[in-house]
């Protein structure tokens, strides 16, 4: 994994398709390792998790990944607990924390912040989400999930349902899937369609995609349905939010026409867009997805630290 040692992971567009598959292979090897062996891979190494905005899942996933590799973790989980509240710049924070750690995973509310941070860091920066822009480790974990669950990417029919405008997980994921010959169907409430720059990228990549209004019949023929949360704060009124939220609920009834092996994914956390009555179905892949995401983050940390696996 020499090619990854010391590299920043800012955008999956920076990775070749063969490099993406290298990370998948590495995640597979880590998955197959006895836990006590994996626990030796990053002994003595320190991961800094710098989260300027609250996150439970992504931060804990990074921290768990590092602990499972035998390394240590330090950091902060919101700006109020950091020197940012004293007016420190991103550049100064990064340059200082890079002295205390071997790798930095960061989330920041401003778009492009991880790229900016990487220009000041002597250790690898892993983008854990920059505003509504990118979320590459989620995308790599989701890609790993599809490969583990479906055995392939090419030719899959993948639907994306929910807030596609502000959903950073979608912005990164669709552009990766476009490179692997996935047919994509976008179902978003009015005003929450994929942003223009993502649409332009998909066209440049020659992606096969359609944008349609959601009805439960849209589920026919899909291999995967990727659901995202409608973020209440994005709506102008409570009424509009409730009306749209209620039209985008996946429950057992909505799955009546779905393929038997439809895989339902969600980056989590969810609100009510996937009813809990779906959780017990084998189609519900979102908790397995979180586990695959953990293995992929272990692979990313090991690869960028230059650890031999």
């Amino acid at each position: 994994m020499g090619s990854f040692a010391g590299r920043h992971i800012i955008d999956t567009a920076d990775l070749s398709t063969s490099e993406i598959m290298e990370l998948v292979e590495l995640a597979n090897r880590i998955q197959a390792m006895p836990r006590e062996d994996a626990n030796q891979l990053a002994t003595g190494k320190i991961l800094a998790t710098l989260f300027w905005e609250p996150s439970t899942r992504t931060r804990l996933s990074f921290e768990s990944a590092m602990f499972r590799l035998g390394g240590n973790v330090l950091g902060f989980s919101e700006a109020a607990n950091s020197s940012v509240s004293k007016g420190e710049t991103l550049a100064d924070t990064i340059q200082t924390v890079a002295l205390y750690s071997d790798i930095i995973a960061m989330r920041h509310p401003f778009e492009g912040s991880a790229l900016a941070a990487s220009t000041f860091s002597r250790v690898p920066i892993i983008n854990g989400g920059d505003g509504a822009h990118l979320h590459p480790t989620q995308t790599l974990g989701d890609t790993y999930t599809l490969l583990c669950e479906k055995g392939r990417l090419e030719g899959l029919q993948v639907g994306f349902l929910g807030d596609l405008l502000f959903g950073r997980t979608v912005h990164t994921f669709v552009r990766l899937l476009a490179r692997f010959g996935v047919k994509m169907h976008f179902f978003a409430p009015e005003g929450l369609n994929i942003p223009q720059y993502v649409r332009d990228s998909l066209i440049d990549l020659g992606a096969d995609f359609v944008e349609r209004e959601w009805t439960t019949s849209c589920i026919d023929g899909l291999d995967v349905l990727y659901v995202t949360r409608l973020q209440k704060e994005r709506f102008f009124s409570e009424e509009e939010y409730l009306r749209k939220k209620n039209s985008y609920i996946i429950n057992r009834e909505a799955l009546a026409n779905a393929k038997d092996d439809l895989l339902i994914l969600h980056p989590l956390p969810r609100n009510e867009e996937i009813s809990t009555d779906v959780d017990k179905l084998p189609n519900a892949g979102y908790f397995r997805q979180a586990e695959f995401g953990l293995k992929m983050r272990m692979a990313i940390i090991a690869a960028t630290l230059g650890v031999e696996v």
Binding site: T89, L90, A91, H108, P109, F110, E111, G112, S113, L115, A116, D130, G131, A132, H133, Q196, Y197, D200
Partner: protein, 142 residues
């Protein structure tokens, strides 16, 4: 309307109609103490309508040329010396522009961390317009 010849200075021609006022803002305020001719929506065989600006006793540096081209890709700049056209420039737009454009995405990191130098990828869109995309947040600034 009559635009007079100038002896020394620059003539900015083939400016996209209506953009001339933005072009003037690119120059230092000292130009307000010199002679400026500004004609807007002038009929043009090649452009239907265009703006023209003549400014006396001023030079343009490479950075200003690039900014001019970004605002109006069709612009031509004639350098006038002793009443003669010394040079006619059609400025080119580089594929990457640094420190010139400000991102219009209020959530872009370059607006929060103002020591960062803006960086834009510039390309022609299929519609024949210039596409300016922030290298940090990917937002397209019009």
């Amino acid at each position: 309307m009559r635009i007079e010849r100038i002896h020394n200075g620059i003539v900015l021609d083939h400016i996209k109609a209506g953009v001339g006022i933005e072009i003037l803002k690119l120059f230092p305020t000292e130009i307000l103490r010199t002679k400026i001719d500004y004609a807007s929506y002038v009929e043009s065989p090649s452009m239907t309508t265009k703006d023209i600006i003549k400014i006396e006793n001023i030079d343009v540096n490479p950075e200003t040329l690039m900014k001019l081209a970004l605002l109006s890709p069709s612009i031509t700049i004639s350098i006038i010396r002793n009443g003669q056209v010394q040079e006619k420039i059609t400025p080119e737009i580089p594929p990457v522009v640094e420190g010139v454009i400000t991102c219009t995405n209020p959530k872009c990191v370059t607006l929060r961390e103002n020591y960062l130098i803006s960086r834009f990828r510039v390309a022609w869109s299929e519609a024949g317009k210039i596409r300016k995309q922030c290298a940090y947040c990917e937002h397209i600034t019009k």
